[in-house]
Subunit: 274 residues, 2 copies
């Protein structure tokens, strides 16, 4: 439930957390677009999807920020007193689900794309991951907007089933594909699954927090928790994907590596120039 009153400190905490997410997602997206030529063409689809994910998140956080600042108001000078719910406008939690519905399947596509598997192996993984991730989000939403703890629990459990499918695919099926990856990126790719898992772990915790009736503080923690989880699962994740793509590019094309990594004092060979 959205709290009726926020202190100035609680309001500022949510306000700055939301603004931090906008900056992190927007500029990660811009970075990835500019840095596209810094990997081989075969990895540019993965980076483009990563940029789109961060761009979609930035858009939704602009919306969430606007919704939040409209939903609470205060009559105190300098905004130093308590904020209460505005008349006629509410905070729209739905933006988060619309965002996840688009971005969570794309995050999994991004991971599979950077593996650069055969088309057959790639399709096999995506036909399991994409539908499961859509169902996971779709089942979470009715629970999120419900104020009935029983309904929240039932939808929460329903949402967990496709989540377990995703876990199975990531930690059993995908493990076979990791064996064909270069040694230097194998551990990073393996850890990426944990990054997804740990950051996704924040969502059910944030989902359960309001059930414990810790009032406005619980709601503030939920907003900050979602914000940090979104930065880790999208922006930090994208930068790791970029690093993997770059390392693989260097391994697969030594002349590209020389042009991109030439060290101080070295002379660039003519073949490496573009």
């Amino acid at each position: 439930m959205i709290p009726e009153v926020l202190t100035a400190g609680q309001f500022a905490t949510v306000y700055n957390a939301l603004s931090l997410v906008i900056a992190a997602q927007l500029f990660t997206a811009i970075f990835l677009v500019i840095a596209l030529p810094r990997v081989l063409p075969r990895y540019r689809t993965a980076l483009t999807i990563a940029a789109i994910v961060c761009g979609i998140a930035a858009y939704h956080y602009f919306r969430i920020f606007a919704s939040f600042t409209e939903a609470f108001e205060t009559e105190t000078p300098g905004g130093l007193g308590d904020f209460s719910q505005a008349i006629g406008v509410g905070f729209n939690e739905g933006y988060r689900y619309v965002d996840w519905l688009l971005t969570v399947p794309l995050l999994l596509v991004e991971l599979v794309a950077v593996l650069a598997l055969t088309r057959k192996a790639q399709n096999r993984l995506l036909w399991m991951l994409v539908p499961a991730s859509i169902l996971m989000i779709a089942f979470g939403y009715p629970g999120e907007i419900s104020s009935d703890p029983v309904a929240r629990t039932i939808w929460g459990i329903l949402s967990t089933i496709p989540f377990l499918v995703i876990l199975y695919v990531l930690f059993v099926e995908l493990t076979k594909s990791l064996a064909v990856q270069p040694v230097r990126v194998r551990r990073t790719l393996s850890n990426l699954r944990w990054l997804l898992l740990l950051s996704w772990g924040v969502y059910p915790i944030a989902y359960l927090l309001p059930s414990f009736d810790i009032g406005a503080d619980g709601w503030v923690y939920k907003q900050v928790g979602y914000s940090i989880a979104d930065i880790i699962a999208k922006a930090v994740y994208a930068i790791v994907i970029y690093q993997v793509a770059r390392t693989k590019s260097f391994i697969e094309d030594p002349s590209f590596a020389r042009a991109e990594e030439g060290h101080a004092g070295e002379t660039a060979p003519a073949a490496a120039r573009r």
Copy 2:
């Protein structure tokens, strides 16, 4: 503390200083993106990060500017009289810390990237610099928002510890890496550390100013001080990084230098043309 009243002159001073920073950061970012092909590929990551830093700063100064103009209002014709705090909105100092949390680690990554060290030497420096810079900013924020001089002092001291770690890495560890840089850029790179140090020196001074209780003037000086420091530490710093990257590009690839530096009347050799 945010002053209750600003004279029209104080208001205009902060207003124009904030607008100056937006222009400086935004167009330095745009310049760097356009100028990317003017350095060898190996230096484009450093310039991309420099552009992202200036872009993030521009975003936050747009926000700070909007927050400032909403937080103060006057009833006088032509806005020629005193400004007082608006009802229901405050000036959000938190934007600066959100900005620094993202940009200060990136400024250090930018410096290390332009050195073009081996991956091992680069990672060694970054694993010290990035965590230290995040802690430095994170410890500064609770002090900034506190009105208790004792709390301000304690957080100020805690923030100084990671700052000293950064100083050690820049002036001891990094000095070894400077030895392998071309002679023509060695002094500039060495001076860049002082540019960071001197511009960062403005932040603790601006942080301490309100403690001396010089009222609205102290607050105005703090805003102007932060603005100038941000221009030097990000935009001016980026342009110096660009000059270093360009000089190193010319030294390492003579045909690139001929194509980029050919003087009036010279004919570019076919190999260098693109």
